[in-house]
Structure formats: C-alpha cells, structure tokens
C-alpha cells in the first residue's frame, strides 16, 4: 500500500493500537501482548482481553499483522510489512510531536 494511504487510514493511532503493534515486532500471542504492554508502560496501560481480541481481529483483517503460528490453541501474531511501515510512520509522527514540544518548551525536561 502507498505510504500516503497508510498514513490516512491508520494514523494517529490509539495508545492501545500503538502498543499492540509495537509489541508484535516480536511474535506474541494475545495474552503475551497484554503482559508486555503492562510491563513496558510500568502498569500505566492495561489492555482488556475484549479490546485485545477485537483489535487483533481488526489488525489481522487489515493485514497489518498476520498469524505466525499456533501453539496450545493460541494464535501467535507478527507484523506484516505494511504493519512495520505503519508503526514506523507513527514513530516519525510521534518524534515530530516530541521534537516540536522540546523546541517550543525550551528543551526543559
């Protein structure tokens, strides 16, 4: 898919979608994602199982993620090429937000 189209369709992302995609840079199953997101946000973001299930189904049908394999009745997902591009585009957008924030606020942190 074209970059412009990906941007228009998927950006900006919700925090949950962002962290779910980010977690899938490494193949993981649904509960693994929930644990990973809670861990890297130090407990700030807890994604409920209903939200994870819905988001994963949606991301899979949009072909941003795909099934890697299945273990013990658990689908393991990974990013597709489009998924990787979308997360990188979102990172660029977030970087712009952050950089401009730092410039305008005098770099005080």
């Amino acid at each position: 898919m074209e970059t412009e189209l990906l941007i228009k369709k998927y950006l900006p992302m919700t925090e949950s979608a962002y962290y779910i995609l980010l977690s899938l840079n490494e193949p993981r199953h649904g509960y693994g994602i929930m644990q990973h997101v809670e861990e890297i946000t130090k407990g700030r973001i807890k994604i409920g199982p209903g939200t994870i299930y819905g988001t994963l189904s949606k991301l899979e049908s949009e072909k941003l993620i795909m099934q890697d394999r299945e273990i013990d009745r658990k689908k393991i997902f990974k990013l597709t090429d489009d998924g990787k591009r979308v997360i990188n585009l979102e990172l660029l957008r977030l970087k712009e937000l952050y950089d401009n924030g730092m410039i305008e606020m005098g770099g005080a942190i």
Binding site: G30, G48, T51, K74, K75
Partner: protein, 174 residues
C-alpha cells in the same frame, strides 16, 4: 435460612451495566451466581463467601478458540454464554476494578455487532409486514398487529444502539 435466591433482571444489549452491577452487589453480599437462563434474564444465586468481583458482558456471535483462551489466561471465568453469542465474564479483584474493554471503540464495535444482527432481521420484518398488508387476510389481522409491535421494538433497539454509539464516539473525541 434460604440458600437459593432467584432474580429476574431485564437488560438491554447496549447497556448491560445495570445487570453487571446487580451481579457484583450480589457477590459482595455473598450470593454466588450459579445459573443463568431465559436468554440471560433469570439469575440464580446460592449462599457463599462474600467476594469482590467484576462482571462484564460481551456479545460475539462468532469467535475462535483464541477468544476463550485469552479471557481464561487473564483470569476471567465464563459464567454464561447463550442467546446467540452473549458471554458473561467474571473476575475477582482486590483494588482496581478490571475491564474487558479498555477503549470506547471496543464498545462501539460490540454495538455494531448487534446492529449487524438486527438490521437484516428488521428488513425481514418489514417485508413480511408489507406482504401481510397486501394479503389483507382477516384471519391474519392479529399477526399484522403483532408485526406493528415487533417493528416498533426493532426501531427502538436500532435507534438506541446508534444513540449509544454516537455518545461513545463523542467520548473518544473529548
């Protein structure tokens, strides 16, 4: 002392919160849910330990086994499923009340799954209603009246689901 309590509780698919709260209050006072029937409006409880639990409702007409595994791994117990894809989940907790949906968009999607079921049924009702009007059979008069009631009910349900979706979308924007 009575050991079994039966509660009839009617709830709408777009706002199961009242029903969830009722179940949580029952558990908090030591009434444990052990049976649900009549399409999810009759609840039977037995005496037990008081417990702080969260009840949560989902509507999923089609799921794969991942759905059940995911909830199970996160500590949710399925207390009831039926009536075409309703799931009642329960999870004990200590301080933070857990949620199965952590984004408003998930609730919008739950409502959309219901709309997807109701809309074709509604179309079918209308078609049958029109046929009844064309036939003008006096012996089917009662059926025509029944269809007026059913159509009114469907209009109400579809309108409510759309209203709740608009409300949820506004919450996202804020």
């Amino acid at each position: 002392m009575k050991t079994i309590k039966t509660v009839w509780f009617f709830w709408w698919g777009w706002s199961p919160d009242n029903m969830e709260n009722m179940l949580e209050r029952m558990e908090a006072s030591g009434w444990k849910l052990f049976q649900v029937d009549y399409y999810g409006i009759r609840f039977k409880f037995t005496r037990g330990q008081e417990e702080k639990v969260r009840y949560s409702v989902d509507y999923q007409p089609v799921v794969d086994e991942n759905y059940l595994t995911l909830f199970d791994e996160d500590g949710w117990e399925m207390k009831w499923t039926g009536a075409g894809g309703w799931y009642l989940w329960k999870k004990p907790y200590i301080s933070v009340r857990p949620e199965i949906f952590t984004e408003s968009s998930s609730l919008i999607e739950r409502n959309n799954r219901l709309l997807k079921l109701l809309t074709p049924l509604f179309a079918m009702l209308i078609i049958i209603f029109v046929l009844l009007l064309i036939l003008q059979n006096p012996r089917l008069q009662w059926l025509t009246y029944l269809y007026v009631v059913l159509i009114a009910l469907y209009v109400y349900m579809i309108a409510q689901l759309q209203k709740f979706n608009r409300k949820l979308k506004n919450e996202i924007r804020e």
